[in-house]
Symmetry: C2
Subunit: 256 residues, 2 copies
Amino acid sequence: MGINASHVPETCYHHCNQTFESSRQCFKWCQELARKDEYKIYGYPYSTNTRRVLAVLHEKGLSYDPITVNLIAGDQKKPSFLAINPFGQVPVFLDGGLKLTESRAISEYIATVHKSRGTQLLNYKSYKTMGTQRMWMAIESFEFDPLTSTLTWEQSIKPMYGLKTDYKVVNETEAKLEKVLDIYEERLKNSSFLASNSFTMADLYHLPNIQYLMDTHTKRMFVNRPSVRRWVAEITARPAWKRACDVKAWYHKKKN
Amino acid sequence: MGINASHVPETCYHHCNQTFESSRQCFKWCQELARKDEYKIYGYPYSTNTRRVLAVLHEKGLSYDPITVNLIAGDQKKPSFLAINPFGQVPVFLDGGLKLTESRAISEYIATVHKSRGTQLLNYKSYKTMGTQRMWMAIESFEFDPLTSTLTWEQSIKPMYGLKTDYKVVNETEAKLEKVLDIYEERLKNSSFLASNSFTMADLYHLPNIQYLMDTHTKRMFVNRPSVRRWVAEITARPAWKRACDVKAWYHKKKN
């Protein structure tokens, strides 16, 4: 991993928060103080945003205590949960006294704290690779997610609530997604994954909606494009992702 | 600035990309090789997303060559521009051979490359401050921006295109924004800025839509909340932001 060597480091902020004297001393502190297994996550095992964070935890080989917020029962809008997250959304992530919301912010937090562990999700070998990865993470957030979240909601989530799918919305949204997936196809012809030739957070961010859409008619749009199809097959087959989608495992974990 | 001292750095990736031997040697390389004034930005001076990146450049005291993409004339959908950005959007940022899209990714790229220069926009003193800042950056992207972009589009941008504002959409969106701004008010009662007690990227990201909404009826929602009003007054008064909104300055800059 590179470093911006024009700054003289003063304090370690990996875990130990000590004044930097030697990497060996700091390593000792960090490893001893690392609270790897104290994470708590308020979530729902069917929620796309919860699964995004679970995927990161599994890619890093980290354990966590799940606390179920039943979205179907509307638990997320009850005063007891609004006191935890006033936006009324899951997941909420607790690391000791630190409380974080927003699945992508939580994901980056975990991947940065545990940079050296498990899959290298933030693969910043140079400023160029960092910029390119940030761009593909933003493309997911602003071009891909708004469309695929709508398609997942209409076709997969609404039926869970006993609501009817609006096919006019599905058709209009799919027309927009066609153009986005054409750009993805071009990119994935020339790159194994979106940001680089290795799996990164940019790919991971896409998984939750893609997984639901593989069980809908929208699946055809992904499999009709050979490079997108190859990419989808590869990222959905990751063991960490399969564990993130294991609903039984969520409920069988010890709860606090 | 802290450092993760459990990793031994191998290569500087500030600018010089050299194997790290001493910070002094690296500093020399970095400063000599820094290409501070070679940035090109395809954009439109009225565009919210263009202004977000310009604000970062001005906060960092960096110069750039503007290339106008006239959104009102539809230049962003012409084949010549789609060859540059297939999403048909501005801004597009060029740093030598690196091309980046998505305003927030570009902003983070600039703020990371020029970490030591100008305003400290990514103020990561500890993992906790990093996580908190990432969370507020994500809240902007996923809770604030979808609503305020709709309100800006309906009330400020549509009239530029000769289109009529849909007040049903405005009213529905404002009702959702009320709840978000209540959460902001609570936060800003206890913190000078969103992520911490100093101005960061989390605040900057909000500026482009807020600036347009200050000229609409939606302004009342910001000024009716004392802490939000104080925050809006402070961030919109920043000299870098005023320069980012200076349309004449955009057109008077030397173009390549």
